[in-house]
Symmetry: D2
Subunit: 115 residues, 4 copies
């Protein structure tokens, strides 16, 4: 079993022991991902880009927990939707390689539709 | 190299070829995660929980791309912060096992602070 | 002074008494709006569309506070950007009147680019 | 009729002409607020706090539209929930006056629970 599948199966076990599968549907899991993402974002509110690196160092455990929450719901979404995260990532990376050719994108953050 | 590290190194390669590491800091990557999460959420707007399963079936490629974007930024955050996603997940799962004891949590979605 | 300007001036007074204008810039206020929106959204997690009406009735004060937070940051954004909320709303409504003609939009939630 | 009520009634008219009230429930309107907030936030991605002021100047119409969308859904939420936005704001401001006493909060962005 791959690493990601192994982690996913741990989450599924946690979920099913509590009989929580009934709450898991794409709409609510997407909501949960947005909510957890905002909790991560809150750590960096009113903080400059530079200073945000220090925030991570000072609050490593809390921030690590926020990342874990987002990752957990991503795996839960993968489980109920049957979308494989590695496959999804590799295919998107392929697309982005075309949308953002190195020579056009190098050194600036312009969105592909404005390149 | 673990599966997650292998995927992370592909993203780092993509990023560094474009000289984009200069844009990557915890504040902006968290912003990016929130933005991508909202794009996922948009697929399920005005749709019931039940119907959200069908939305996934009908828009599998687009939704798979949204998941990939969130996962990619999660891996980018892991890279710049040095936080290991598997470690973070397993530790959070341990905590949640204590916050949500099976006997108290079974079958309902009550938050731990109201159990 | 209009009602909205009066509310805005109360917020500006609150902010300036605490010398907080230094933290207010479009990037951070947008972050704050996203964070407060996610706190509102959290009230309706794992809850059906129908049941979400009852959640409002049971948690009126808390939900009212979340709305207030979003509104407050919207007014703060208006203040630092010089964008007038009434003007912005009326102009957007005008645009939406064209994007969503009554005869094409009636009774379904299809996005304008798919009408 | 107050300014806010007048704007709200314009939105209600827009909504009802299209028979869209059926889609409006607290869960979905909260989702919509989060989605629109993320669209606002996207304008300031990879941009420093200082530079975010210039982004507003350069993209005033687009950003004004994003604010309008958030405000519109806030008014829609107010309509279906019966929560008055001015009342909610004034009561929250009262609370924040107590949570953030001027002498303790002046000049720094520490959250009330860490003051």
């Amino acid at each position: 079993m791959s690493q990601i599948d192994r982690l996913k199966s741990k989450l599924v076990e946690f979920r099913d022991k509590r009989d929580w599968k009934q709450f898991h549907n794409p709409k609510d899991i997407s909501q949960a991902i947005s909510i957890e993402s905002a909790e991560l974002l809150e750590h960096f509110l009113w903080v400059s880009q530079e200073a945000s690196h220090e925030v991570v160092i000072k609050n490593k455990e809390e921030i690590s927990d926020e990342l874990a929450d987002i990752f957990a719901y991503l795996l839960s979404f993968s489980d109920i939707s049957g979308i494989d995260l590695e496959e999804a990532l590799l295919r998107k990376l392929e697309k982005n390689n075309k949308k953002y050719p190195v020579e056009k994108s190098k050194g600036h953050a312009t969105k592909y539709d404005k390149l």
